[in-house]
């Protein structure tokens, strides 16, 4: 039988037994959908993570975290290291109650200095940023994220309005750049930023700041810079030789590596899951095809009597399993893209399916089809026509 007739007759057979064809295709469709969805989202998710790490870190930056860190420590580091171009503290106070006109909301409140829009890489889309004057006078002004603004004010103008943070009144002066959900799962559009001095005096009553960020001149030298910062801090915190650090320093380089690692892990797991599903799918198709062969013993005998060779019988069953798997694979690609775009919309992740993944999916479904067809095809081809026609 020539190829076109083979494909036509496979199609006809699959169409004749729709339920059976459906059961045969489920496994491959799900496996391929996993592969495609995982790939289109995995790339997007990793891209988003590294974008955010870039935004939060930026190239050539060091992040210091310590429960002892105070503003003078940060100043000392900046003074002793010429390569520090800029620095800015951050005081994270965690979730606090925010009130406006009877609405209560929980939001993460942080204290920042006037140059933090540059150092911490986040500015305002409306109103103004924290000024030096705000910091000097410990003004009760606040910047709020877009989502918090929407929750509290809906469509009304928020600038100039008074909100309360832990019952302390603050004037909203700006709306922060939207950032979305960060890799920790925190919604950064619910943030509240206040001047660091105000945070220290009015909200926590402490001179510990906790975090500091440095921008250095040479992005490639951040690791050496980190060593130098560590030396200065150990000295200032009077940590004895041999004692562990009481602070942590993260560099932009380290964060970049973490993002790459996360992406790799994600794609490995998705691939692994897809491979397992596809293997199960192959077993399912194979066993259903064996039943099909047994069901069609008389047909096989007849076809042999009418002139079918062993090869054309084998090809017929191989073609059927390959066809059902390929069709299922194409359906799986469509399904996977559908799932990906729904999830992507929900979590604001870009969808970028790669051509490689799509070709891999097609290749995988064809391989599953051929692989699962081999045993049934051999069994069908080796049937004795005399026995089969009895």
């Amino acid at each position: 039988m020539n190829e076109i007739r083979l494909i036509q007759s496979s199609f006809r057979n699959l169409a004749r037994f729709k339920l059976r064809s459906f059961f045969m295709s489920i496994g491959v469709a799900v496996g391929v959908a996993t592969l495609i969805a995982g790939n289109s989202l995995g790339g997007g998710a990793a891209q988003k993570i590294s974008d955010q790490i870039d935004r939060m870190f930026g190239p050539g930056t060091l992040l210091i975290g310590s429960v002892e860190l105070k503003l003078p420590d940060l100043q000392a580091v900046a003074e002793q290291m010429d390569q520090v171009v800029a620095y800015a503290p951050r005081l994270m106070m965690g979730e606090k109650g925010i009130q406006y006109a009877g609405t209560n909301e929980q939001a993460g409140v942080s204290g920042f200095s006037a140059n933090a829009d540059y150092v911490w890489n986040r500015s305002v889309i409306d109103g103004r940023y924290i000024s030096n004057r705000d910091v000097d006078r410990a003004e009760r002004v606040a910047l709020i994220g877009t989502k918090l603004k929407e929750t509290l004010f809906a469509d009304a103008d928020a600038i100039g309005e008074e909100i309360q943070i832990d019952s302390v009144p603050f004037e909203v002066v700006g709306i922060l750049d939207p950032l979305g959900i960060d890799p920790h799962g925190d919604d950064r559009d619910m943030d509240v930023y206040v001047p660091i001095s105000t945070a220290q005096r009015r909200l926590v009553n402490s001179d510990v700041i906790g975090n500091g960020k440095l921008v250095v001149s040479d992005a490639d030298a951040v690791d050496q810079d980190a060593d130098q910062v560590a030396e200065i801090l150990r000295d200032r915190f009077q940590i004895a030789e041999g004692e562990p650090d009481t602070f942590r320093i993260y560099t932009s380089k380290f964060a970049g590596q973490a993002a790459v690692k996360a992406k790799r892990m994600l794609s490995v797991y998705v691939m692994l899951a897809a491979v397992v599903v596809l293997l199960v799918a192959a077993v399912v198709i194979s066993s259903i095809m064996l039943v099909v062969v047994r069901d069609r013993i008389a047909e096989i005998g007849l076809r042999k009597a009418l002139g079918a060779t062993r090869r054309s019988i084998a090809m017929q069953f191989l073609c059927e399993s390959t066809m059902v798997s390929l069709i299922a694979g194409v359906a799986g690609i469509v399904l996977g893209l559908g799932i990906a775009s729904v999830i992507a919309q929900r979590y604001e992740i870009p969808v970028n399916p790669t051509l490689l993944a799509v070709s891999l999916a097609v290749l995988a479904s064809v391989s599953v089809g051929i692989l699962s067809g081999i045993i049934p095809a051999r069994r069908a081809a080796s049937l004795d026509p005399v026995e089969s026609l009895r």
Binding site: M1, R5, S9, R12, R16, A298, E299, G301, L302, R303, K304, A305, L306, G307, A308, T309, R310, R311, S312, P385, V386, L389
Partner: protein, 228 residues
Amino acid sequence: MIKIRNLCKSFQRPGEVMLKVLHEVDFSVDEGEFVAIVGPSGSGKTTLMNILGLLDRPDSGEYELQGKPVAKLSPEERARVRNEAIGFVFQQFHLLPKTTATENVELPMLYSARSDADIQKKAREALCRVGLEERLTHYPSELSGGQQQRVAIARAMVNDPSVILADEPTGNLDQKSGRQIMKLFRELNRNGSTILLITHDNAVANAASRIVHIDNGQLTEARMQVAS
């Protein structure tokens, strides 16, 4: 057309003695003949038909089909000979379910090198010759037993075979349908088809122009009939 000499075939089931099904059988069929092989069940007639139809191989002996020895052909070559030179009609019809009459008749031609247009045309012609021009797109489940066997006969002759082998073609039919099927065979024979019929029923065999008896694996020529 068909010439066999000294043909032997035996079977051995595990734990049983060797059973000689065919023993030194000599037999020949000329072109245009309508021969019936009559015998009780277990007489070896189906084994003979399987060997004549190249579905089975003899243990020893010679088999010439259209002047060519075919006993020792490879499985692929035998498949090709079956496709080109032999048409089968079975007791159980063996039509593909959920497949139209036309598609069933097209089946043997799918294994030949014919063009699609040729295949469709020949299938339609064959169904018209067996009187089923009104049933081209019917499924077997929508046809009576007699009609199903007509489809099978159309399928057997669609590739213009050298011989049509019919094994108990009326065995699953009522008397009236059976008589119509035999009438159809006679018509085909009159129009030039060589037909070899196998049956246990003498009444059915009487439709043939020559009757051969088979018993215990040996053939005996019964009587010569004047060609009708």
